[in-house]
Subunit: 239 residues, 4 copies
């Protein structure tokens, strides 16, 4: 399975705390553990030509992971539309953390995708809400993160097709932190954790969830419907 | 309750078959039966300034009905965005028939919204799939339409929050012809029937469904969430 | 609208703390605020003949509220089946708090309906997860309860048709505390709060949610499908 | 993966048309194509001791397939309850055709599960409604069955978690003929086709869907939640 990890890669250049946690960038760290799990993984970043998401890259990508925050507006309309279209055509998409506000996610959701947030070292506890889902394979009843950014309800998304995780935050909020959506022929998994100043993507359970998400999101040769003018399959009586 | 019926009003000007069926326009006919049902109804059309959807009109509209077909591209991006935003802010939206391909619906769905179609005088039978829903109030088990345009699956929409009607077509297709979606603080009802060359909006049962849909879609003083930076409601321990 | 509030009414007889908070019983208090809201309300309790739920009572009840805890097993199989059948036939049902383990709710859900719990004076904060829903009318973004019994995930229910509220608990858990389900022709609202030793049903916001729930759950003359052997509506070709 | 195909195996003994189509029984035919697809498959039938579903068999079964019709009432309450419990504990379940009225399915759904039906050689066309789902892998846009029993709406089930197929019938009806449900830790797939007097389970596409369904329904080491009295994970303040 071919995976592309996209990252805006800006915090890493500006903030030494981030580059210390992620010396190869957030994308490098995610690619690292996906490779370890046996997935064929490449990376792409904002400042590459076409943000690293050329037609060639997109066409061979089976699942795309998206991390962005500071520079959502710098992603060109053209690339955002192309990524959206590839999802509708069957590419899986994993949107992480602040990617909730990316052009791609907002276009696919149709809503504002806003939420409450706070950077205050909240403890986060991510509870499993759907113990049948392959995304929860190998996970316990919850995942504890000692410090994370808080995201709180109301999260302005459509009701998810499946609600996988609900987060508890020390400061008193809750959040639907793992949710799946189907759009067109593509599958989308939003997963909340991963603020840049915490070592969240070094956490083995978080890695397991993302790896499970990639496997779940890949398309498996499902039908590709034809649309438009359609000849009748049965005789239509004259009226 | 204040309702605005929007119609592109072009078929009525070009095609005498349509203007004979709907001498006051499709919008005029829909407004007529909604008024009969006791709803405070206005109309707006594409060729009016701002397509008749000024800020003032949109702000006082509780439920908007949308019929468009030939001229989706002539709806300005600005008006389409404003209507979308008003839905997210709580205005109800009823999208009829070929409105599936309107800018407003596509923006709110995030998908292509395409489908199979055929103009061949198919008989359509609209079956109730959810006999708990207020949109089906006063309706029987199905509604028969002697002649209609066919719309067939796969309809490229997100899985609806509620599937209300499924259509059977004489030529061999099926269609999810009544579906609800919640987006932001707004409620959306897509209802399939209403090709311009058939007298569908003169049908009493179709009128009843649309009237029910308007009543269901109106917002009832539900919470208006605040988003953004959020102070903790509980003490956060130092770490 | 005719409402019946059912309560097992045992804690009130055994525990002076409960009878002090609810001198007319939990059922009496719920009936009181529903009457204040203009609803025609009666009560029924476990120790009455047929648990107060005779055919006559059930047939004229449009929405039934259920509170039980200690004596789920004393509800006869016959009455539980009759209540279930009435829900499938169109009666609305509001299941409160420990009613999650009632025979009626378990039969309608098809799952174990178990959960985590703790009686330790947790603070509960009930967040609105669906700001479009009429059940949230007139409520703010959350409801705070200073002390309540904790219920925690995983709550063993089917994925709700609509997730209305998510609770945060001081001790570190979350819970899907407001959820709707449609079964047959009936609508069901499960609402978590209401441990007997706390004055939860004196809280005005909790009262508002329950009142909203009753109004939402009432059937509105929707279709009553016929099932069984069915004559063809179209000609079937010989093969 | 270990699969058990359960069949009441009565039509095969009574009706030479059926035994000619399925000389090894419906169970034998289903087991045959699952074995061909590489799945480790056994069979069990009504007239075996404990209906062939001993604790040993159930405990090692990862996915159970259910076909029954004439003799739903002869399935003991004890076995039906055990099968239900195994599903809640994580065993996958595929319910075929007239299995909609089995004790096991009705217990898991909580509804009446009734529908319209007709034995009149209707043509059936099964349309794909969810082209993202692994159950549709390798299938086209629809499956045609020249002759089948008709099942029509309203099908009295809870709204499915996922609607995979919708059937068109020549006599004028539609049916939600492929639907998934999650209950407890188990996954359920209902698939409509398979009347005993037609060679439906010899159809390669039908075989493919059932095989896909078995693979989808198997549990993949997801969490097994603990419920009951729960110690706080965070300090609760005294009040």
């Amino acid at each position: 399975m071919k995976v592309t990890v996209w990252n805006e890669n800006r915090h890493e250049k500006k903030n030494p705390i981030v580059s210390e946690i992620y010396p190869k960038g957030i994308h490098g760290q995610i690619a690292y553990f996906l490779e370890e799990a046996g997935l064929d993984t490449k990376t792409a970043t904002l400042d590459e030509p076409e943000h690293g998401l050329t037609d060639e890259v997109l066409n061979e990508t089976e699942v795309l992971i998206w991390w962005g925050h500071l520079a959502h507006d710098e992603v060109t309309e053209e690339v955002a539309e192309k990524v959206k279209q590839r999802v509708l055509d069957g590419m899986g998409l994993i949107v992480l953390h602040s990617g909730h506000f990316s052009k791609v996610f907002k276009k696919l959701m149709g809503t504002g995708c806003d939420l409450k947030w706070r950077e205050a070292d909240d403890k986060e506890r991510i509870w499993v809400a759907d113990p049948t889902h392959p995304i929860t394979e190998g996970i316990g009843e919850y995942i504890d993160l000692e410090k994370e950014e808080m995201y709180g309800e109301h999260f302005d998304i459509p009701a998810p097709d499946e609600l996988i995780f609900i987060s508890w935050f020390e400061g008193g909020e809750v959040f639907r932190s793992g949710a799946t959506f189907k759009r067109g022929r593509g599958k989308i998994f939003y997963f909340r954790p991963g603020h840049e100043t915490y070592p969240t993507y070094h956490n083995k359970e978080i890695q397991k969830v993302i790896t499970n998400g990639v496997k779940w999101a890949a398309n498996t040769n499902t039908p590709n419907p034809v649309r438009g003018n359609h000849q009748p399959l049965e005789k239509i009586t004259e009226k």
